[in-house]
Amino acid sequence: MTASSLPRPPRPRGRVLDARLHLLSRQVLDRHDVPVTTIDDLAFSPVPREGAHDREEVTGARTYVVDALLTGAALVVRVFGGRAPTSVWERVGWQHVSDVGTAIHLGVDGDELDVTWTERWVRDKIIRHIPGGRHDPE
């Protein structure tokens, strides 16, 4: 069988994103354009079998979707390799993503997300206690 006789793969609808190029290491901004984190890694999960293509049943390939954006320990893993236990993953669910551009926009407030706990901790324990920390600069 020559390459030309192979069936052409169907063109996916919508925009084609290269996860490595268009998602990894990009900035994540909340709905007020405040930075939330950078995408350190991605969590995927397989699409449930019953919704899968017939063709995949034949080839054994499965379709995966992005589940969540990972940060925190995921960065350490990306730099040094290895595997972090799932308990230390810090995740932002993909359902919060509202737009993918040169930055990834979320439809929620960054403060509502678990991943910004260090920002809140530093703010509540240190910065708020220094006079002037709550005011606009003059």
Binding site: L24, S25, R26, Q27, V28, V34, P35, V36, T37, T38, D40, T71, L75, R78, V79, T102, A103, G110, T118, E119, R120, V122, R123, I126, I127, R128, I130, G132, G133, R134, H135, D136, P137, E138
Partner: protein, 409 residues
């Protein structure tokens, strides 16, 4: 009229804000040892910083992404992280040198031991970072920094043989008293001083702080293309003053007092006072810029909320980073290290970190996803690639030359 005033203010700020302790020390040291035979390096460096500052500002204005966000995005966590570590440490070294420079300048003015000035200087830097608006801190230090024109005035008052100076600058040769390796070591130091990476971190983040858009690109281009070369002219004036006064007397620059010696000789106390004020403003401004840059680099790499346009509590990790960096810098100074020596090392290490900083800017400036129709023109790309090659050669040669020459001794 208002617009013209705005342009003038921008240019003047760029001139006054161009010089920092690295430029002051390196140019004076080079002038006192090599005369004007390294002026060509200053010119090469100024064209380079114009090319890349302008490019990083354009990327920030068009895409809203500051330089370290782009470094992280293009280089990924590993190479980006290596760049972060290097840039952060060099930035810390530069910040240390700048705070030391403020203290030394205040010592010249007051005869009070610099180690008493250092904590005060660091505290003042932090207070300004904590409470003063970005626009004000940039403009005030830039405008007062214009007092450094005193070096140019001093040069005229010294009445040198201009023809001789010009021919020394246009026909560079290694002085018989110095070796070739030392000559090239100082060439790299001058190049590093002119192109310090923190300048593009600060410049691009400043574009985001001031909410530049495509409309502001014209103004930013004028600021850079007029302000930086005129600021560079002041660098050359410092070197020329040292050439005229220090070189014939074999005075080696080891302290700030020797850098301003030609000014005192030419213009007396009054001009000296003006120049010291200029040095305080220039080092103070650069201390602000390097502190901010330490926050910018870390926050942009990790995706934290950052910026002076937010209240400190809305960018808490960013402000904490600046506080910690200032405390570490102050700690280094209080051990009694010589700020002038710290400066000499910081400019050479700057040269080492340049390629990893400027490559991602060049790549993203060509990416229509970020830049739309404002991608680099062909001539800008040619310039960018030529400079990247020069930067790479300088970065690779810096450490070996430092070892061979014993850091220029």
């Amino acid at each position: 009229m208002n617009r013209l005033l705005g342009v003038a203010l921008g240019v003047l700020t760029a001139i006054g804000g161009f010089l920092d302790i690295g430029d002051l020390v390196t140019n004076a040291v080079v002038g006192s040892r090599f005369g004007l035979s390294l002026v060509w390096v200053v010119i090469v460096g100024i064209v380079g910083i114009c090319v890349f500052a302008q490019m990083s500002g354009r990327v920030a204005a068009v895409s809203g992404r500051a330089t370290f966000e782009i470094i992280r995005e293009r280089l990924g966590p590993r190479a980006g992280g290596a760049n972060l570590v290097a840039s952060f440490l060099i930035n810390l070294l530069t910040l240390t040198a700048e705070v030391g420079g403020i203290a030394l300048a205040l010592q010249l003015a007051s005869s009070v031991e610099p180690r008493l000035w250092m904590p005060l200087a660091a505290l003042a830097v932090w207070l300004v970072l904590w409470r003063v608006k970005f626009k004000i801190l940039e403009n005030v230090t830039g405008l007062v920094g214009l007092c450094l024109i005193g070096f140019g005035v001093a040069l005229f008052l010294l009445g040198p043989d201009w023809g001789e100076l010009l021919s020394a600058a246009t026909h560079p040769h290694v002085p018989t008293t110095e070796g070739h390796a030392v000559y090239w070591y100082y060439a790299i130091a001058l190049f590093g001083a002119a192109m310090t990476p923190y300048e593009v971190f600060f410049f691009s983040s400043g574009a985001v702080e001031e909410k530049w858009t495509v409309k502001d690109l014209g103004q930013s281009r004028i600021n850079v293309l007029v302000g930086f070369p005129l600021g560079g002219l002041l660098s050359i004036a410092i070197a020329a003053c040292a050439t005229v006064v220090l070189l014939p007397r074999h005075i080696e620059v080891a302290a700030l007092s020797q850098i301003v010696l030609p000014v005192a000789q030419a213009g007396g106390k009054l001009l000296l006072a003006v120049v010291i004020l200029g040095i305080v403003a220039a080092t103070f401004g650069a201390a602000l810029e390097t502190s901010l840059s330490s926050g910018y680099t870390l926050a942009q790499f990790f995706g934290w909320s950052w910026g002076k346009f937010r209240r400190p509590e809305r960018a808490s990790r960013f402000h904490l980073t600046m506080i910690v960096t200032l405390i570490i810098g102050l700690g280094i100074l209080m051990t009694g290290v010589d700020p002038v020596a710290v400066t000499e090392y910081s400019v050479v290490f700057s040269a080492v970190a340049l390629p990893l900083t400027y490559l991602p800017i060049l790549i993203v400036a060509n990416d229509p996803g970020y830049m739309g129709e404002h991608v680099n023109s062909r001539s800008m790309n040619v310039l960018g690639v030529v400079y990247l090659t020069v930067i790479l050669v300088a970065a690779l040669a810096a450490i070996p030359l430092m070892i061979v020459t014993g850091a220029g001794r």
